[in-house]
């Protein structure tokens, strides 16, 4: 470059200068567009006589929200609770359905994905059928299916479909389950659970030592499961079962208007939440199943053969050789599915489950009219959820990464 012809064209052909030039151009362009957007927004708001500000958050909200976990946790009352409460109720309801959805989708997805690779013909057909049907029907349609076709078709408010006699039942108003009522001695049952976990760790250490001395391998999973279940249950009953259950109460006598499930007894999962949960987890599970299948197939056949040739049994091979290697292929797309599920929960607005978009962008926005602030607040929530999920999954991914060189 030096000492040669330094005309403008030759400068532009230099990769270093080119790089800087293009980056500068893009930065300027970006700055100008953001500036224009902000300016435009502010002047439009001024034209409508509006200002930016978050003072609406302390105002009381004057609308009803259907009873859900969020309203119960914040004790929502019309005319008393504020828009901050509405915001938090939306967050809680979104969070709970996303969390339950992720758990269910993971379990169903892994099961179906492994089933699709099974030698068993029935398993394989069933899982292929499930995946092909569920992932090819729009999520919104599935949401409508579960809500309108299944849950709205349940017996009416004055009737019930008994699932477990006197304990659990279903009708159009929701799924009724027993609610736990904690009394004094329950703390011991809880402590014994923690104790059981501690004991399991001790047994695990013993198992490792035993392996080191005799080579015998204990079935730690089953032993641990046994201790963690049996010990707290034993303590609980010896202590006189200090946990009561409030059973759902159903009346079919008395005044017609009072018949049906009684409020205040047991707990109820509203049909909107059930529908959202079912639709989200079943839909996402179909994608997770394909991811799991792809991950397992991506592990070279030679890995299984090498383990078999050493005499390692197929189940141990799957656990110690195949799954750990499949995980590094599975985790990145799995993270995307978790993020999708969380964001898809906003479709619940279509059946009026009071999650964030429904209560905040729906009813609250209509009444307050602070579009910019409220949309911004909601975007922050989804961004936070997503970044938290991604951070956790990245941490997990770095643990299963391969050392290359």
């Amino acid at each position: 470059m030096f000492g040669r012809d330094r005309s403008l064209t030759s400068l532009l052909n230099d990769t270093f200068i080119r790089g800087i030039l293009f980056q500068a151009l893009i930065a300027i362009g970006l700055f100008l567009s953001i500036n224009w957007l902000a300016d435009n927004t502010l002047s439009n708001l001024a034209n409508q006589g509006k200002t930016l500000g978050f003072d609406f958050l302390t105002r009381t909200a004057g609308f009803q929200i259907s009873p859900t976990l969020g309203t119960w946790m914040l004790d929502y009352k019309v005319g008393k609770s504020t828009y901050t409460d509405v915001y938090l109720i939306g967050i809680i309801n979104t969070f709970i359905v996303a969390l339950l959805g992720i758990l269910a989708a993971t379990v169903i997805g892994f099961t179906v994905g492994i089933m699709r690779l099974s030698d068993n013909l029935v398993f394989r057909w069933f899982s292929s059928f499930y995946v092909e049907v569920v992932r090819n029907v729009p999520l919104l349609l599935q949401l409508f299916f579960w809500y309108f076709a299944v849950l709205r078709a349940m017996p009416s408010k004055r009737e019930k479909l008994e699932l477990v006699e006197g304990v659990a039942g279903l009708n159009i108003t929701g799924l009724y389950l027993p609610a736990p009522i904690v009394s004094d001695g329950f703390i011991y049952s809880f402590l014994s659970l923690i104790g059981a976990i501690a004991i399991t760790f001790l047994v695990r250490r013993y198992a490792l030592r035993r392996q080191a001395e005799t080579g015998q391998i204990l079935p730690m999973f089953w032993i641990g499961l046994g201790i963690i279940i049996i010990l707290p249950v034993l303590v609980h009953y010896l202590n006189g079962s200090p946990l009561d259950w409030s059973l759902p109460e159903f009346k079919d006598t008395g005044p017609k208007l009072r018949q049906g499930y009684q409020s205040g007894a047991g707990m109820v999962l509203v049909p909107e939440m059930l529908a959202v949960w079912l639709a989200l987890s079943l839909y996402t599970a179909a994608f997770i199943a394909e991811i799991v299948r792809a991950g397992i197939l991506a592990v070279n056949r030679g890995q299984t053969e090498a383990a078999y040739a050493l005499g390692v049994r197929p189940n141990v091979t799957l656990r110690l050789v195949v799954i750990p290697q499949a995980m590094r292929v599975i985790i990145p797309p799995l993270t995307s599915q978790y993020l999708n599920l969380t964001k898809n929960s906003s479709l619940a607005v279509a059946i009026a489950y009071p999650e964030l978009v429904s209560v905040f962008a729906g009813t609250a926005l209509n009444q307050v009219g602070k579009e910019v602030e409220m949309i911004f607040m909601m975007m922050m929530v989804y961004l936070t959820f997503s970044l938290m999920t991604a951070a956790f999954m990245n941490w997990f991914n770095s643990r299963v990464k391969l050392v290359e060189r």
């Binding site: 080191a212 080579g215 049994r313 110690l320 050392v403």
Partner: protein, 258 residues
């Protein structure tokens, strides 16, 4: 299948470690093994050669059930190889295998690669398994790499680890499936040297390989296969200097011609 027959078989011939009788195998329509009859004695070193697609890999993969034969009998170490999972497990414990592409477990360190089977299959205490692993890693001359991962090693080193991993199960028989075919020329020697040492220690070996120098040097018997059949087998001297069939002559002229 019948258990008494097994023991009878074993008592008749304690020396035999592998016996194949009229073994046939098909991949779909393709007849990959045709009426294979083969008997291998303890301590014998056998080299199997032949053109690609002649069934030599399939032959040794049938000996530990990585492939299932469809017809005929196979006895390994006196145990009949059939659908009985117990028999398959028992045979796989006694038969080590080394693959063309090493197939080390990339997510485990070299030491863990070597300890996996002793711990989970032989139920060896961890400390002892580590001792065994280090012993064999020393024997293949890479004890200093024990804490590294397979991806950090050269091809030749990886293949030597694969040999050590198989030896950690202290097998009665070692199968080699083209162990040097995926290696750079200068790494072939280090792997062959390891195999020669193993042979000198009296290990029973069946090697599928194109390394004719190795065959001349260590083999007790060279087997030539073509189109799923054993065409010719003989001691290396006679095999290389005085091949009987025309097919063998053609093959040898092609691989030794340059």
């Amino acid at each position: 299948m019948a258990q008494p027959q097994n023991t009878a078989e074993q008592s008749v011939d304690q020396k035999t470690i592998v016996s194949m009788r009229n073994v046939n195998k098909w991949f779909g329509q393709f007849h990959v093994l045709r009426d294979i009859n083969l008997s291998v004695d303890k301590g014998e070193r056998i080299v199997v050669c032949g053109p690609s697609g002649s069934g030599k890999s399939t032959l040794i993969r049938c000996l530990n059930r990585l492939e299932k034969h469809q017809d005929g009998d196979i006895f390994v170490h006196g145990i009949e190889l059939n659908n009985d999972v117990k028999n398959i497990d028992e045979i796989r414990r006694e038969v080590g295998m080394v693959f063309q592409h090493f197939n080390l477990f990339p997510h485990l360190s070299i030491l863990e690669n070597c300890m996996l089977a002793p711990i989970w299959v032989r139920k060896t205490p961890r400390a002892e398994a580590e001792e065994i692993a280090m012993h064999f890693l020393t024997r293949v001359k890479i004890p200093e790499q024990a804490s590294k991962y397979p991806g950090q090693l050269s091809g030749g080193q990886q293949q030597r680890v694969a040999i050590a991993r198989a030896l950690c199960m202290q097998p009665q028989l070692m199968l080699f499936d083209e162990p040097t075919s995926a290696l750079d020329p200068e790494m072939i020697k280090e792997v062959l040297d390891t195999m020669v040492e193993l042979a000198d220690d009296g290990m029973t070996m069946i090697c599928v390989t194109h390394e004719m120098g190795f065959a001349r040097r260590v083999a007790d018997r060279v087997i030539f296969m073509d189109e799923g059949q054993i065409v010719e087998q003989n001691e290396p001297e006679a095999f290389f200097n005085n091949p009987k069939s025309d097919r063998t002559k053609l093959f040898l002229s092609q691989i030794l011609g340059h």
